[in-house]
């Protein structure tokens, strides 16, 4: 039987305007999350927020008799507002790890990660995993990270610890290259052979939609991690529906929580 884990907040810091890094200590029996998996987080014993909130795993470390899970979040609504006010030592309920993570293909020499804003979180965890366990199977890893401006560009320092080439960009040019991350990627794309390249992406829907448009008539493989409002996280409530292509072109949906959050970019209907 799986359980809801009770975690204890070790750290809950505002690392940039409205952007928080939370570290939660968990019992040693908490399973190792695969890159791209997520957890449902709920504050114990309170009425609001009522539902747990989904967050992808940003980092996970195992010590001898406990483990520490990091999540990265931006304050956007009631749930994250309450989370932002939590003090160290507060208990949180953690359900997970949940969902289908990124698929790692052995035959791809080039890895390209494309992140926008908070989308950096699952990609950083993936990059770490690739660095630690898969370094012999690929030769180059590029991390394209974009945000609206310098202030919103989160997690760049963590990228520097990885063996990857980091390309940062901002919409207003206040840091790194000026432009949308998808446009910066497009300029470089022809350097990578489609057959030998795997692209992993996570970010706001307009960014992923733009990426889908760029890749539509190419042979590049691309996996995207999606976000949607969800209630249960385990595939029961059918709240987190994402439109997918179907054979008869009738509407069809998959569940971000249980069928995803990672999908092949070509599977999704980008409206």
């Amino acid at each position: 039987m799986k359980n809801v884990y009770i975690g204890e907040i070790l750290k809950n810091e505002e690392i940039a305007q409205d952007c928080f890094l939370m570290r939660v200590a968990l019992h040693v029996s908490f399973p190792d999350p695969a890159a791209g998996q997520f957890v449902m987080v709920r504050v114990s014993g309170i009425a609001e927020p009522l539902l747990a909130r989904p967050f992808s795993v940003y980092s996970f470390e195992r010590q001898n008799n406990s483990c520490a899970l990091d999540i990265l979040y931006r304050v956007l609504g009631r749930g994250t507002q309450v989370m932002a006010g939590l003090l160290n030592g507060t208990q949180v309920e953690i359900l997970g790890p949940l969902g289908q993570g990124f698929e790692i293909k052995q035959n791809k020499k080039n890895i390209i990660l494309v992140g926008g804003g908070m989308g950096v979180a699952p990609l950083t965890y993936l990059a770490l995993h690739l660095n630690n366990y898969m370094c012999s199977s690929f030769s180059t890893m590029y991390f394209y990270l974009g945000a609206q401006n310098d202030e919103a560009l989160i997690g760049v320092d963590e990228l520097k610890k990885l063996s990857c080439t980091a390309i940062t960009c901002t919409d207003d040019g206040s840091r790194g290259e000026k432009g949308l991350v998808t446009q910066i990627l497009l300029k470089d794309l022809k350097k990578f052979s489609p057959e030998e390249t795997m692209i992993y992406a996570c970010g706001p829907k307009p960014m992923l939609k733009a990426l889908a448009k760029i890749l539509r008539k190419t042979k590049y493989s691309c996996q995207v991690s999606l976000e949607e409002k969800m209630a249960c996280g385990v595939g029961a409530c059918l709240g987190c529906a994402v439109p997918v292509k179907s054979r008869n072109s009738k509407p069809a949906y998959k569940r971000v929580c249980a069928d995803g959050p990672v999908f092949d970019i070509n599977e999704i209907v980008w409206k």
């Binding site: 809801v4 009425a47 029961a236 529906a241």
Partner: protein
């Protein structure tokens, strides 16, 4: 230990015998398998599965859910695999468990209700049907059947005509006189009544001026609706003599006991499953502890003890 063994939590909904009064509410527990890693399904009174229609349904476009104070709105739009896929792909899994399987059904017209019921009655491992005449999310059908005593009675009669399974009719709270609907379905032959389904509501994003749900309106569930549910169950109980199953915002054993005390024979746990996958087990455990604490050996000594 001897004390504990004497505690009897079993209840009867007409001919349907349950090991305890705690079921899952339709649409909040998938087809059972979604929660089988978290809950020993053998310990449930019954599993009520996601509402099934004759043909598979894709459901509504997202966003489909939104949290609101003390609850949530949903407009899933009756997404389901269809009755045939349920029987071939989902039911074999549930058959492995020693629990009652109640199948929630939905039709867009009387004929569909009958066809779905016939198919389920022929399948092995279905113990009862729960007729959804109340889902507020689909424009055709749903609301119109459950909002009018005549159509509610007709659906009940049509379903009864084609099955020997116990028929539970699930009522919508989005009506003026819930007792009148309850009386009508009882007269039409319903073996039991369950209520309430979700209360229609909506929520607006003040920064975009758009509804939070793509469907605009959705069904409100969760602790916010419990007092309304309790009031409606009580009103129905005063007007019918068939068993009534209480649903609506039950989060813990205390909430469940309120429904049992006013006379509900059983309860269904819905939104609480989303918040705590083990909510049903905690409700069962909590009722048992309450019985130990109060020295009540048989749950029948709790049901209907309300002193108005």
């Amino acid at each position: 230990m001897a004390e504990t063994e004497q505690i009897n939590m079993s209840v009867k909904i007409g001919r349907l015998k349950l090991k305890n009064p705690v079921m899952t509410a339709s649409g909040t527990f998938g087809y059972g398998e979604e929660y089988a890693d978290y809950v020993d399904l053998n310990k449930l009174g019954a599993v009520v599965v996601k509402g099934l229609s004759l043909k598979p349904r894709a459901g509504n476009p997202p966003p489909r859910v939104m949290e609101t104070p003390g609850g949530m709105l949903n407009a899933v739009g009756l997404q389901n695999v269809g009755v045939e896929a349920f029987i071939s792909e989902k039911l074999p899994f549930l058959r492995k468990y020693d629990t009652k399987v109640i199948v929630n059904i939905y039709g867009e017209n009387y004929d569909e209700y009958k066809k779905v019921t016939r198919k389920l009655s022929a399948a092995k491992g279905v113990h009862a049907v729960e007729v959804n005449i109340s889902c507020p999310n689909v424009k055709k059908g749903g609301l119109s059947f459950g909002a009018d005593p005549k159509t509610a009675a007709t659906v009940t009669r049509k379903v009864k005509e084609v099955t020997d399974l116990p028929v539970i009719v699930k009522l919508t709270p989005n009506v003026t006189d819930i007792a009148a609907i309850a009386v009508a379905v009882e007269k039409a032959g319903a073996d039991a009544i369950s209520l309430i389904n979700t209360i229609t509501g909506m929520s607006v994003d003040i920064f975009t001026g758009r509804p939070h749900l793509k469907n605009i309106t959705g069904g409100l569930s969760g602790p916010a609706i419990k007092p309304v549910a309790l009031r409606m169950v009580w009103q129905v109980l005063q007007n019918v003599s068939i068993p009534v199953i209480g649903i609506g915002g039950i989060m813990n054993a205390e909430d469940a006991l309120e429904f049992l005390i006013i006379g509900a024979k059983a309860v269904q746990i819905g939104t609480a499953n989303f918040i705590n996958p083990q909510a049903t087990m905690e409700v069962i455990g909590g009722i048992k502890r309450y019985m130990e604490m109060t020295g009540i050996k048989n749950i029948s000594k709790i049901i209907g003890t309300f002193k108005a």
